[in-house]
Symmetry: C2
Subunit: 332 residues, 2 copies
């Protein structure tokens, strides 16, 4: 396989394919400054093109300063410094507050010749599949939140493995792909263990888990902790029927439920941090000050975005657990 490569049948114009071939050669180091490119005629003959087609391509490369033409001799690489816009495909599950830090820190890690396009699958298998299928071959890197979609693995396998990076969640069938993910089970288990001394004053741990779309590792971690700690516990799907009672400590996942819970606690004239406890998953702005601060078990989303960007820039194909933090505040 030579430097130049052309496929007759695809939608990309031939002269563009020649340009891309040279760009690729430079990016992968096969071409260096001073190297001679194949002659116009040889390219023309090899791929049965018109001379003009090759000239259009070399002309653009010349105009961009990448290539230098020496009359009677040939074309030579003049500069290895090419400005190719890299495109990144970013597939999120849903838009919510946590994504803000993650997205912004990811974006800020790149300079202006990187283009990031964002898509959302809303935990819907066919939307997930469509976004991926429609964009195969259009991007340099694919950053994907598989969430807890069962069919994710087979769909993702249709992408080039060395261009795929998983975000936030991964699972046993996705181990072949690079990732920056949370270890939910471990985070919850260890997080709750860290908080164990603070839990002594409460006599029941209540887990509010409203959405089936939450990573199941959270449930597993919670149950493991309960088993090992011998604490009395219960799990509820929603808060509507619940009435907070003295001695209860709540482990809660989303902000909407948190607000509901706090309102209910206020209605019952109970005091957060002494009579009723709160532990929230995922740190966010509001937890810093609500009720004097809410204790959180949380991954650092800013770090997650930065680490992912770094992995892409260095093409590190590894699985990384994103660091987890327990922030102890007034609510326990």
């Amino acid at each position: 396989m030579g430097i130049i490569n052309i496929d007759e049948n695809i939608s990309i114009p031939k002269y563009r394919q020649i340009i891309q071939s040279v760009e690729n050669g430079l990016q992968e180091g096969h071409l260096k400054k001073g190297d001679k490119l194949p002659s116009v005629n040889s390219i023309k003959n090899r791929f049965s093109l018109s001379r003009d087609t090759v000239f259009t391509a070399f002309g653009e490369l010349k105009q961009r300063g990448i290539v230098e033409a020496v009359s009677g001799k040939g074309y030579y690489i003049k500069s290895e410094d090419i400005r190719v816009v890299k495109k990144i495909f970013l597939l999120f599950d849903e838009l919510n507050t946590f994504k803000e830090d993650l997205y912004n820190s990811f974006l800020n890690a790149f300079d202006s010749n990187v283009q990031v396009d964002i898509y959302f699958h809303h935990f819907n298998k066919s939307v997930f599949e469509k976004h991926i299928n429609d964009n195969i071959g259009d991007y340099n890197y694919y950053v994907i939140m598989p969430a807890n979609l069962k069919e994710a693995t087979t769909i993702i396998r249709s992408l080039p493995k060395d261009k795929v990076f998983l975000l936030d969640q991964t699972n046993d069938s996705l181990l072949e792909f690079a990732s920056v993910h949370q270890n939910f089970e471990d985070n919850v288990f260890k997080g709750l263990n860290t908080l164990k001394p603070y839990l002594a004053k409460y006599d029941r741990l209540v887990f509010v888990n409203p959405k089936s779309i939450q990573p199941k590792g959270i449930n597993v971690g919670f149950r493991n902790f309960v088993k090992s700690s011998l604490l009395k516990s219960s799990e509820i799907l929603g808060l509507e029927p619940a009435v907070p009672k003295k001695g209860e400590v709540y482990f809660i996942l989303d902000d909407r439920s948190l607000i509901e819970l706090i309102k209910k606690i206020q209605n019952e004239n109970l005091i957060v941090g002494s009579e009723v406890g709160i532990i929230a998953y995922n740190d966010s702005l509001l937890k810093e000050i609500v009720e004097g601060g809410i204790t959180t078990i949380s991954t650092n989303f800013t770090l997650m975005g930065e680490r992912m960007a770094q992995m892409i820039l260095n093409e590190e194909m590894v699985q990384v657990e994103n660091p987890n933090e327990v922030i102890i505040r007034n609510s326990l």
Copy 2:
């Protein structure tokens, strides 16, 4: 029998038959992503049609994202998913908390055969321009946040006027386009006026306006109110140097600054709602409960999304001011 098939005698319009032919080809697997369609001219000649007839068909397929037009080459299959019948281009300024309600309520108003693609311009003119130029002709509707970009008007004018809907902000040079927008000047002025009785106990109104990217109507509204109310006031760009003092009431725009302010107030051992007042722009979850509730002047983003969706579904080309709300809570 080729891919395209037309029967002169049946009642289905010819351009529809072309579309159906492609849909059939995809459904039966004869057509795959990347395949080239017969050229417009060849179809025209083979079935003695007008070029326009073929264009109408290919144009619809292009807007639905099924087909991609490559200038000088031909039409190629881009997506095998024929369920999508309408595509909406959604250009936001930045991803933040407020966009969550707006985006979700907008999305929920459509059924599953409508595809909404979201883009962000980050208040950057060239990013704004690129997203629009790259997607001309690819969508049925264009929903755009022009924010306060001066050059927005000329860029948007390259889109078909009857397919453009502006979101959140508009201005005098954009009056030709349909919109659901805030009247920032009015909202702030009237909002502060509504709150006037509560301001009597404070002796200075402090406006914290950290970002130059904020709509300037907010500043104008604030200044007009100050002029008419004869209140003592000051404007600061950031909170860092500020030390809250008894008798001050703060008008604050973003959540990050709000949290900072509350921490400073707590440091000074001042009581929110009596010694120091807070008014925030834009209501959000955290304002419901922080410090017993923060008074807000805010538009209803859920309504904004619903109204925009409704305008698109009915193709109402009108300018609508989104309703504004003043929510009085403990902080005044």
